[in-house]
Symmetry: C2
Subunit: 659 residues, 2 copies
Amino acid sequence: MSLPVPVPPEGVDPAWLPSAAFRAVGGRRTLIRGSDPLVETVHGEVAEACRRFGGRVVRAASDGPYDLVLGLGADGLGEEGFAVARSGGTTTVTASGGRGLLYGLFHVVRLGEAAFRGDWAPETHRPAHALRMLDHWDNVAVHPVMGQVERGYAGGSLFWEDGRARGELGRVRTYGRLLAACGVNAVCVNNVNVHAAEARLLTDRIGEVADLADALRPYGVRTHLSVSFAAPIVLGGLPTADPLDVSVRDWWAGATRRVYEAIPDFGGYVVKADSEGQPGPFAYGRSHADGANLLAAALEPHGGTVHWRAFVYDHRQDWRDRTTDRARAAYDHFVPLDGEFAANAVLQVKHGPMDFQVREPVSPLIGAMPSTRPAVEVQATQEYTGQQRHVCWLGPMWSEVLRFRPEQDLCVGELARGGLVAVSNAGDDPFWTGHPLAQANLYTFGRLAWRPDAEPRAVLDEWIALTFPDAPAPLADGLHAVLDGSWRTYEKYTAPLGVGWMVQPGHHYGPSVDGYEYSPWGTYHFADRDGVGVDRSAATGTGYAGQYAKPWSELYESRDTCPDELLLFFHHVPYGHVLKSGKTVIQHIYDTHFEGVQEVEEARRVWAGLADLVGQGRHARVAERYEEQLRSAREWRDQINSYFFRKSGVPDERGRRIY
Amino acid sequence: MSLPVPVPPEGVDPAWLPSAAFRAVGGRRTLIRGSDPLVETVHGEVAEACRRFGGRVVRAASDGPYDLVLGLGADGLGEEGFAVARSGGTTTVTASGGRGLLYGLFHVVRLGEAAFRGDWAPETHRPAHALRMLDHWDNVAVHPVMGQVERGYAGGSLFWEDGRARGELGRVRTYGRLLAACGVNAVCVNNVNVHAAEARLLTDRIGEVADLADALRPYGVRTHLSVSFAAPIVLGGLPTADPLDVSVRDWWAGATRRVYEAIPDFGGYVVKADSEGQPGPFAYGRSHADGANLLAAALEPHGGTVHWRAFVYDHRQDWRDRTTDRARAAYDHFVPLDGEFAANAVLQVKHGPMDFQVREPVSPLIGAMPSTRPAVEVQATQEYTGQQRHVCWLGPMWSEVLRFRPEQDLCVGELARGGLVAVSNAGDDPFWTGHPLAQANLYTFGRLAWRPDAEPRAVLDEWIALTFPDAPAPLADGLHAVLDGSWRTYEKYTAPLGVGWMVQPGHHYGPSVDGYEYSPWGTYHFADRDGVGVDRSAATGTGYAGQYAKPWSELYESRDTCPDELLLFFHHVPYGHVLKSGKTVIQHIYDTHFEGVQEVEEARRVWAGLADLVGQGRHARVAERYEEQLRSAREWRDQINSYFFRKSGVPDERGRRIY
């Protein structure tokens, strides 16, 4: 019984799965073998492709040979791995389980005609980690400040609308299909900030979550849920949420059992505790290991996992207090707890020590807890990187993070044994992601989560080939031209040299150099008339640099060896300090800000030249957003340059206009 | 038929009309003569006082002599004036109209026992201007950003709640009574920013306004309405709101006729047009005189007045553009229109050229349009002066404005022939004004509106004597100690030397030195490492100083003659510039900010000593707000000082802690 391919609603962009992407597969003779619900999904996909492109698909060998054989049977590939080979004119994909076979099919789709040429030796493909998750910061009820989707820039939520389940399960299935095609296998369906309506998803509203799980399951995507640590009180009526209290433990065990009755393959819980006002174990004098293990114990009998977020810091800091350093917080809180977390408790760590700035060092927590399973969290939704009004392809940033080696041996991509997680950038927007080119971020995340050492530019090639299967070479060149360097361009015209922040408080769009300077959020640049930056050295600063293992602790400790792009994150330096580039800090600020705007102007020009190659609706929307990006980039340039010129008094060497 | 005194809801503070304030009147024998609805109000007041304090009131002379005779009869005092005299043991109040008699009664109440001592020569009292209005920036529907009351710090609205009329007409009558006792005779019942729900008050919801008018009328308070200039389109379905279009004029005539059918003594319209996004005549290439005269013509047959606000400026300015000066805008827009406004059109001018900052020069528009009737608008609601969490008695500021003489002859108080207007600070709070001591602002406004040359400290004495009729001398001393200098204290710890702004954008509470520096709002300080302030001189700056008549234009033009407190409003000066006080600008900034906080600490100490004298509820609320004021004042001190220290590099002479 093949499962029909979901039909997206009228007007919704197919993203990287247009029909034409299936041309090579759809024109062949294919044999599918095996019995598993996901094999039916595979069958549905191939059948639909054959319907369009004239091929044929069968479930039992009879009139071979076949161009493509997809079948269960191989051992040792795990639930998600697959093997591919080609000989004698037949391409063979085998897997141990249905999900592996589905990923194998999408591998063949990506290869296109190349999948059916020549002979090749067998290859095996397995994801680096079992969990590749998108966290949706979607609220069920519209939050008075944060709206339907916190930090969402792609319309409303795919799952919720104004307090209710949205009910568009066809679109949810379509979403699951896109995720499967890039390798994502888990979705957390609600915001980590769990407000009143959302808390109830755990109990009396679990049926709405089950509906989502049913829609996502055929594409191998498991459902997770953000829960409130205070649930035993607010939902259970208990007087406490103390993780060591027996009634609390019983309550979680019972609630979790009922979750699994509704969703047998439920993935687990995501928890933001003792963070930015969310409740947590500190209220009871318990540790975060106590808190995580409480939920881990409830999930363990059912095979679930708790993702416990490490984003814990003092968000009511006094800006006058220079001894407290938010960057230190996660390490200081969690490293002493190494070894105390249950086997099915994952510590979910943001990739940097602050909060998804355009440039941060890699969190020193990753690799510092050998007996704990970390998941590494990145942010596909562009909260601090242009909010999907600016083009900012994050593949190179994520790749740098994943390739970083905290010590000599393993890189972050290998250390993330708890999985890779991205905050989703998708919503009910017709292009899924608001900015059509931001689809590339979602796709790239999935592929890097599957294979963290993938070359991001090659992933972008995949995305281009799938999204625009019939496009001529100039389009691919144009897309690379506007995407490849877009993250560095964004970095150039915003906060310089790793210092971060300098954004409008609250909504985080657009510049405000002092916006967070005298705030309680622990986010300062300390610019004065002589210099700028945060001294995080061990010798004279907050000691944060000392949280790294060697060689990083030594490299970051000295302003002479600290990489330019992180200089102001680690050091307070005079404006005349000479960078490795040979420029002074102040001239670097001026130059990069002028360059950044020029690069946006150039990208806009390139995009204008692609008008006939990408479809009118897509072209118009991107063109319109380039206008806003350019306006905003100029605003950044002029505010940053004026601020530092007024403060430093140092004129631009090239005499350009500063206000 | 005497009108009963309105009974405020349980728990609502009597403000300056506690029963005990009527002791002197209530213990006497009083004769009331005359026939007028407001004479019944007077009768009701005296009867209620007599019921409490054992006196007697009659309507026809029979068994004299009387201690007090209140009667209509005198000619030539106008609708609101009254004469008082005392001889032969009888105090006599006469008036030409019922409102005058009511004001005469409250005059006697203010005098207390002194009203019944000795003999005095006849005195006449008349208000300086016919209109003494409170503008309520109350929304009918809760606005998504501004809430129920825009810039309201006293709970909800007295008139509206969540889209509906609140319906507490007893409280509205009680409010009218308080207003009559300080001399206010007009209330505009909705926000000058007229949103969709509020627009309909003019037409199908006029009955709700009529209910308010009925409740306020017995205390001589007329009702006004803010209307949308686009009403003919949004309510009338016309294709245009062009003021010269006949169908538009007809529409307004008809709508206004129906308003007067519902409210025969309706006061008129208040209009904010072409300002901060509100619609106006500019859209049709018409002048503001055209716009105002359109509404004036509709109101004229019924005796109504249009209050046309002069708050017109470019709120989408480019911060890079130093040639545009928001301070110039009202003068530049309106002076060319002098002589073009209809007789019943009043130009309502904010007292300063910007927007109710703690220190501004007087608007040069006042006095510059000899053929136009200006009303002067002040802000009792403390948007920029501590939002009723800080004690900031504005009497001295308003008095300075009213005594200012734009030319040699008339002062602002005399020039305001269109009346005096305050944005109300009252709401449904049990203390009416959020901060109990902010009642003094409401009272002081009314009394200064009646008599602009009154000594504010004497008005404060009145307020204290009425509000605390049985209080011992130390309470009066304590209240003066915490109120008299509170405006200057607030000025000390906030933005220095007239430069203004430096507040958090949006809500305007708390410091943000650069909060409006790179904004489109025309509100800049241009601080750099060398100096600070806005050059508004004619010689080298925006020319704003030249909008004044002599001697002010000359005085403000030179930094040598410009008053210290306005120096940075008119000039950009180096931090080392020496003030008339002998201090440098930078040292002045440091000193005033340290002093301001010390003064708040001292006021808090004084207030603590009044615990037994003012009632527990009031004392506790004020004490609690002093904690917040002190916290906030310290935040202001430290942010302002740190900002200027980081920028100037000049250390505090006295070596105090700057961050």
